[in-house]
């Protein structure tokens, strides 16, 4: 692995070549210079332990040049997969589509526009209180090189800024889609929920079946007393590498609900930092992840309690089939001022084949003893008692397993604030299960055929 990172592909000159308002270009330039000082991650560090980061050669991937100004994107260009996906989500308050790194469509209801919601590209003339402040509001400092690259090379950051006291009923959706082979893109979504606002947003990361790297950053500021829900689906193609970061800061008496379904990717990593910065803040993190084939899903969570009387609840449930791997590492960090806090962390993993592998590493770092923390972590096959029970009713073994696995995820999928996204995720989980049941059925009947040949 090359450690010489001041290569041409990721230089400040490349950052400078990207267009956008002056303030954004300056920001990118500074980030590129910072990134040049950062090392490529190594599995020697705890946060990258067990990961496949050493197998990634960024030099094989290229940024996607800006499309021709003459041939500006039109909606007719939006891939069918994206349009269909959006349709599955049902009624939305607005949507932004980011195709190959560029925003190609922005829709926001007139009502929300009039109420002062900002949704889409960063504005040219960012006012001090405006979108420029939202971008980078949580990621002051990139946790790793990929985060820094996102700051430096993100062509079209998306901003969602919801004014104080505004309650939005319909969810807002952002869809990132890539179909250029050997490309690297840096999806960025920066969200700010103003004081006492309430809304829910969807983030989907999808792609065609091409080799590509996506390095997304999502940051969310949840203002005091605000209630913000994030429902995310990661279902990129099987050749895609994702190295992502999710960061949230939750203010006083505010609540963040973040739910993620992670399904796609060759190697798909997401680091999630939930910082409870205001007294009485709550952060609820849920995830359903399901690997198959040779996939590796890599999830790192940080529940950071900075203020008193804060609550975090985490429930991550994963399944690994075939030769897939999953890694979950979770840290509950209680800072000295976080007295009276409650932190819960549960990670459960189903191992669906002997060759699949799931790592689960819970950790606690407690600097105030007046708190309540609990963590539970399990890795194991489908429960034999449950399987026997279901089969004893006359349900064939593989169908029973499929039911049990789907049921296992149900608890997490119920946490999705947007039921439509939960049902999309459920469909995708079922699709993987169906393909396995199908595959197993054929291999079973093949075995039976073999056996009868032998006995004949």
């Amino acid at each position: 692995m090359s450690t010489d990172l001041s290569t041409d592909s990721f230089s400040s000159a490349v950052a400078d070549s990207l267009d956008g308002p002056a303030w954004l270009r300056e920001r990118r330039h500074a980030a590129a210079e910072d990134a040049a000082q950062m090392a490529f991650p190594s599995t020697d560090s705890e946060e990258w332990r067990y990961s496949r980061i050493g197998d990634l050669d960024l030099e094989q991937f290229e940024m996607i040049p800006a499309p021709d100004a003459d041939a500006a994107h039109t909606t007719s260009e939006i891939p069918l997969a994206v349009t269909e996906f959006i349709q599955e989500l049902g009624q939305l308050g607005g949507s932004v589509l980011v195709y190959n790194g560029r925003i190609v469509s922005t829709q926001l209801s007139d009502e929300l526009l009039q109420q002062g919601v900002v949704f889409g590209a960063v504005p040219e003339d960012a006012t001090p209180k405006g979108a420029a402040e939202v971008l980078g509001a949580v990621m002051h400092e990139a946790p790793d090189l990929f985060g820094a690259y996102n700051d430096a090379f993100g062509a079209d950051p998306v901003v969602l800024d919801v004014p104080r006291n505004l309650v939005i009923d319909l969810p807002l959706a952002v869809v990132f889609y890539v179909d250029v082979a050997d490309s690297i893109t840096f999806p960025r979504l920066s969200v700010r929920g103003g004081e006492n606002s309430q809304f829910s947003f969807i983030e989907a990361s999808l792609s065609a079946d091409v080799p590509a790297v996506v390095a997304p950053v999502t940051e969310v500021v949840v203002g005091n007393a605000a209630r913000v829900s994030h429902s995310a689906l990661q279902d990129v193609g099987p050749q895609v590498w994702q190295v992502g970061t999710f960061l949230a800061e939750v203010g006083q008496d505010a609540t963040l609900d973040a739910a993620l379904a992670a399904i796609g990717g060759s190697y798909a990593r997401l680091r999630m930092d939930c910082r409870l910065v205001g007294r009485g803040a709550s952060g609820n993190l849920s995830s359903a992840y399901f690997g198959d084939d040779h996939q590796m899903l890599d999830l790192r969570t940080f529940q950071e309690h900075q203020a008193a009387d804060t609550t975090s609840k985490l429930l991550f449930k994963g399944a690994v089939a075939d030769n897939s791997h999953s890694v979950y590492t979770g840290l509950i960090r209680i800072k000295p001022d976080a007295r009276g806090s409650n932190a819960y962390q549960t990670n459960r993993n189903l191992k669906l084949s002997d060759t699949a592998w799931a790592e689960s590493v819970p950790n606690l770092e407690i600097e105030n003893n007046d708190v309540h923390c609990s963590h539970a972590s399990t890795v194991g096959p489908v429960d034999e008692e449950q399987r026997f029970y279901v089969e004893s009713r006359g349900v064939p073994s593989l169908v029973a397993e499929r039911l049990i696995v789907a049921g296992f995820f149900d608890e997490v999928l119920d946490h999705f604030a947007v039921p439509a996204l939960a049902s999309v995720a459920r469909d995708r989980v079922n699709k993987i299960l169906d393909s396995h049941v199908g595959a197993l059925l054929t291999s079973d009947s093949a075995l039976l055929a073999d056996a009868s040949n032998e006995s004949a």
Binding site: F388, Y389, S392, R393, V395, P396, E411
Partner: protein, 272 residues
């Protein structure tokens, strides 16, 4: 006419001999009660019959209508017409009873659309709250609710032979009566016009027997049937407890492969 024939069934759990030669035949319309002290191997018998993993058959045979049950997977035994109402029904998060029964119907080419209304009818018959039908299997159900749930599932699946492992435990008097009536009806009329149900009811209380009116009572201890006979055995048991049989066995054992003392109007001599 269906027939579950268990002959000289032997099984181990964790390398321990638990079933030490069980011989028993249950036919359509018959109600057999198996009574025995705790830990004598009654649930082991029911689990072995259903093919639960971890139970190793070391001898004997089990057939249903002449077909070797022991060679079948659990779900195939169920499809063949065997049903086990479990002593401790398992909680399965995220799956409803409806889903399970619909899949069981689909696997036997029955119309899965029939399941919901059948379930509703059966639930009403025994006072099982219909809201439970859509909730995760057995999750947060009381002991009695779980037993009613087992009964509803049995009635919807419509087996030929049902093993009821301590179905009475957890049921209050009224519920026990309702559940017993349902089972009795199935033994006389079958499920939806099918064959009459054969029942193997495992219990260690008389309560169920008073409701179910068994044709045969088997005294079961230490992995064997020690005596079989009419309902009067249960009365004797009520008076003396198991001590009589267990002592008897200790005196006459270890040699004899304790052949049950048969006073069973349904037993055919050919089998013995």
């Amino acid at each position: 006419m269906s027939e579950l024939v268990i002959s000289d069934l032997r099984a181990t759990v964790d390398g321990k001999d638990i079933l030490k030669g069980v011989t028993l035949t249950v036919r359509s319309g018959e109600v057999h009660a198996v009574m025995g002290p705790n830990g004598s191997g009654k649930s082991t018998l029911s689990n072995v019959l259903m093919g639960k993993p971890g139970y190793v058959v070391t001898g004997g045979a089990v057939t249903l209508d002449g077909v070797d049950l022991l060679a079948m997977a659990t779900w195939e035994r169920a499809q063949a017409g065997l049903y086990l109402a479990m002593q401790y029904p398992v909680e399965v998060p995220g799956i409803s009873v409806k889903d399970v029964l619909a899949e069981a119907y689909a696997a036997s080419d029955r119309d899965r659309q029939l399941v919901p209304s059948l379930m509703a009818t059966e639930a009403n018959l025994i006072g099982f709250e219909r809201e439970f039908l859509d909730r995760p299997l057995n999750v947060d159900l009381s002991g009695g609710e779980k037993k009613r749930n087992e009964t509803v599932q049995m009635a919807v699946l419509g087996p030929k032979i049902a093993i009821l492992d301590e179905l009475d435990s957890g049921l209050d008097v009224d519920a026990l009566r309702a559940v017993s009536r349902r089972i009795e009806l199935a033994t006389t009329e079958g499920f939806s016009g099918g064959e009459r149900l054969g029942v193997l009811a495992i219990t260690h209380y008389n309560r169920l027997l008073e409701e179910l009116h068994p044709d045969v009572v088997h005294i079961f201890a230490n992995g064997q049937i020690l005596e079989s006979g009419g309902p009067e055995i249960a009365t004797r048991l009520e008076e003396t407890g198991y001590a009589a049989w267990v002592e008897e066995e200790e005196q006459t054992a270890p040699t004899a492969a304790a052949r049950p003392v048969v006073d069973d109007p349904f037993f055919s001599d050919g089998l013995l």
